[in-house]
Symmetry: C3
Subunit: 255 residues, 3 copies
């Protein structure tokens, strides 16, 4: 019996995530629930947050991700196996980054066949409790993906922009902003060679350093973040406010 | 040794709930703590949230609920057994919905006798740490309710309004609003037969559907929610804002 | 294998704390993670919150505290043993209250030698994942402090003001404000004898009672809080708003 991580957008006050945890413990009493968050703010954020933690967990971990505005519609319910971890959630793009960062590995995705769960009547508005939590519990207990549904080859992906390389110049954009206002870009570390400068908005020579505190307080800094992508921060400040930046803001790297 | 769920209104930043968890693990090292929330917003919300998750957990689970503005006053400290789950918390109505939804089952409620805990000096302002957490830990470890206090027959109940049936018309009201702005009413599913319409404020023909996405985005929809009560939502919107609705707003069902 | 508590300021939405939990479970699969908070608001708050819960946990517990604005700078990474509990986090003062409240006990603090961790490349901006979580996991698994680093004698302390005694008068100040707006002062219970009054701002005769509800709703009350320090609250109100008080506001006790 293994670990089941639980990430949702249900908030902490209504008891929705709590009901999911109860279902998990009822079906798989020996599973270990690890709380991730109840505060995801959309499919893109879910995809990004999951990418930050999924591979830190041991092989065999079941990652349950429920951000599901289309609950009860024709969107599929998914269970998958990638990089030796299981994934369970709606087929709306929450697994995009896991899928795209593991294209070289074998991955399996199944549409969950709810007739194989048969624990209770399924509420059309709460698949977290009635479909996804039971599926995660069954996988944690050793049930195979094959036994839970039908293989599909094309899970839904959201569009994550790629950086564009020009001579002596790399054009990317902000694809996530964290709680501290740090700007995470789509420019991978391996593209950042030599002693470049970064540009964002009116700022065209943001220096590259190793960490925030390598620059004076209140000044912007570019660095390779903990996900191995270019990030831009302000030491002891918020880069999103400093630059007026948001998701999609253009970022350049000059060599 | 079993599961102890922990729900409070202490917030996450001060370490109050953390201290309760420490006490639990010190008394009942093999118990498994499941985090529910630290963000309950009052007794009525606690009663509703608990109702959403308590029965999803296995028999024997201890549900600890601490929303306790009257801490240290003459309000009793309660421990109970209903529907094969234990409940521990202040006698201020937080268990109202559990009690009222299980009137047909045997239930036992005891006033906790603090002299039987004897773990430490009891702070008059933090019974969560000094009374409720130890009680939950002892119940989880197999101690009987009888050994912890004296039976009482009338735990405090808060007033939860009942719907009123008229010929071809059912009048209820909003009794909870969730994080998404969905309106949960006091009208049970079993009363919603045929092909009715719902009314709320100036809107007198809200269509019944199975789920949010059965209606155009931005439009209101009535449906049977995951608790088997009538709910009203706006597809990809907030019904509370759309209708200007709040707890107590009147809702009708026309047949 | 024991308990690891996890407290950070990372928020719940980005997956940072989640990545730390994954690292812990990968290195120490049998450890038990207890969530404390992701919402610490600074070093002083972290020091205070930790003081509220650390000793409630069993001996051997590892308390991981990551509030680390100076990550990647020359600030040390610390692991310590005080009062039979382990502590892991940045050397910036987060352990101040634990240290100062245990001056009579033997305590050991080590600067973590990252070359002894060797799990992965260390990101200069995420020591929570790459240094502190692995260290906590190793301590939980039985590794000795000696094996993780070099003893130091002077961990960083933040300044926590002491109360000043005058004839028939004690002058202290507000050193923490909790989620409910209650004001925690630096005046210990043992100094509050007889039948004193408290003063704060324009209010010079705040009565001492046992708990909030011993005074009329909306009125201020002084009492000995659950940490055994003088606190000032407003029954069913917020003392911070009532008094316009903040950290550092002066409080007096008159005998």
């Amino acid at each position: 019996m293994g670990i089941i991580t639980v990430a949702t957008d249900f908030g902490r006050v209504d008891g929705y995530t709590a009901a999911m945890k109860g279902v998990i413990k009822s079906i798989a009493p020996k599973s270990e629930i690890i709380d991730i968050t109840d505060e995801l703010t959309g499919v893109a954020k879910a995809a990004f947050a999951l990418y930050r933690y999924y591979s830190a967990f041991p092989q065999g971990t079941v990652h349950l991700v429920v951000v599901d505005p289309g609950v009860g519609s024709s969107r599929k319910a998914l269970a998958g196996l990638v990089h030796d971890r299981f994934f369970v959630g709606p087929d709306n793009g929450v697994f995009t980054r896991v899928i795209q960062s593991n294209l070289a590995l074998k991955s399996i995705w199944c549409e969950i066949d709810v007739s194989k769960l048969s624990f209770r009547k399924i509420s059309p508005t709460f698949h977290g409790r009635d479909i996804f939590a039971p599926t995660a519990a069954l996988l944690s207990g050793g049930k195979s993906l094959d036994g839970l549904g039908t293989k599909i080859s094309n899970p839904v992906l959201i569009n994550i922009p790629e950086p564009v390389a020009e001579p002596d110049f790399l054009r990317g954009e902000v694809i996530d902003i964290d709680k501290f206002g740090n700007l995470i870009t789509n420019i991978p570390a391996c593209f950042v060679l030599g002693n470049p400068k970064a540009s964002l908005g009116e700022y065209d020579s943001i220096p590259f350093k190793k960490t925030f505190s390598d620059i004076e307080e209140g000044f912007p800094v570019a660095y390779i973040g903990s996900l191995n992508y270019l990030e831009i921060a302000v030491n002891k400040g918020r880069a999103d406010s400093f630059f007026g930046a948001s998701i999609g803001s253009k970022v350049g790297v000059f060599f």
